[in-house]
């Protein structure tokens, strides 16, 4: 019985459609998967890549995603870091193309501000609701 289950699993794995077929084929940009020679620059690039959202597989960062578009975006980030651009300027460069959506670190303005302020607001609300507990019994 167990063997049958294993066999079924193996068949299912083989039967999986090749996703790469649905993404065309082309050269992967050189810097997509090759680290920068300077460790400090690579570290900066890596931080930027972890904070940018992949356009194709929307929940992942471009550092984690294997999608072709993520590869292109990684190469762009590394190239701009190598050219001496500041991480924040690169983040802005991406936002200029895809909007706030592309960043995992929303700016402190508009609805983003609410997001940042929410913990503080909730804490104040909790203190207000619990204020009776701090009062000395008379």
């Amino acid at each position: 019985m167990r063997r049958l289950v294993y066999l079924a699993c193996a068949l299912l794995m083989i039967a999986q459609p090749r996703l790469s077929l649905a993404q065309g084929s082309g050269p992967t940009p050189e810097l997509a998967n090759r680290q920068l020679a300077d460790p400090a620059k690579e570290k900066a690039a890596s931080q930027v890549m972890h904070a940018l959202r992949c356009i194709q597989c929307q929940g992942q960062s471009i550092a984690d995603s294997d999608a072709p578009m993520a590869a292109t975006m990684r190469a762009e980030v590394r190239q701009q870091i190598a050219d001496g651009k500041k991480p924040d300027a690169i983040r802005q460069w991406m936002i200029e193309r895809y909007g706030e959506w592309v960043s995992f670190e929303p700016d402190m303005k508009g609805s983003g501000l609410l997001l940042w302020a929410a913990p503080l607001l909730l804490l104040l609300l909790a203190l207000f609701m619990a204020r009776g507990l701090f009062r000395r019994k008379s």
Partner: protein, 176 residues
């Protein structure tokens, strides 16, 4: 209980959360990533021809004074096949269409054009998707309206269907 209104607070909270849930169900979700480049000048680029017998595409070709459509497609993309007749219809109505082929091979592009027709003036090959990234484009197919001065005026995400043809023609007309 000296504050009877407090009794209603939990109900209000639950009603608010329920309202959010209903809102999420009723209002259609927009999963598309829109380009933030609309209203701005095309980025500079120069792409080689996507296959034999066609001309490549550069940003300068798109800023020669005449508004036109820029179609982002690929031979491996199924909705691109579905929109082919409507691109043909747009061309017949007088629209000039340039194209960028994404991650494609010359022989595949040639086969695609011979099967589904070639409504394009020029076709550039963006094999590494670098130009697609600069355009703020998130997938295939997409169709942009480019003004005569090379400004990106409009982005249509997804395949062009019959109902989009008059809208695109109208916007193209408005462009000049």
């Amino acid at each position: 209980m000296n504050r009877p209104w407090l009794l209603w607070l939990p109900l209000a909270v639950v009603a608010f959360i329920g309202g959010l849930a209903i809102y999420g169900l009723v209002v259609p979700k927009d999963d598309m990533v829109h380009s933030a480049m609309v209203g701005r000048k095309l980025p500079e680029f120069s792409l080689p021809p996507a296959t034999e017998g066609v001309e490549g595409l550069s940003s300068r070709d798109l800023a020669d004074g005449k508004p036109r459509l820029l179609n982002i497609f690929a031979s491996w993309c199924i909705p691109c096949k579905a929109e082919a007749p409507y691109l043909e219809a747009l061309k017949k109505s007088g629209a000039e269409i340039d194209a960028i082929a994404i991650r494609d091979k010359p022989e595949d592009v040639a086969a695609f054009l011979s099967e589904f027709g070639n409504p394009f003036r020029r076709i550039g090959s963006d094999s590494e998707m670098g130009v697609q990234l600069k355009l703020g484009s998130s997938g295939v197919p997409e169709t942009y309206i480019i003004g005569g001065d090379g400004t990106i005026l409009y982005q249509h995400i997804g395949d062009i269907r019959a109902e989009h043809v008059p809208m695109l023609l109208e916007k193209l007309q408005e462009a000049g």
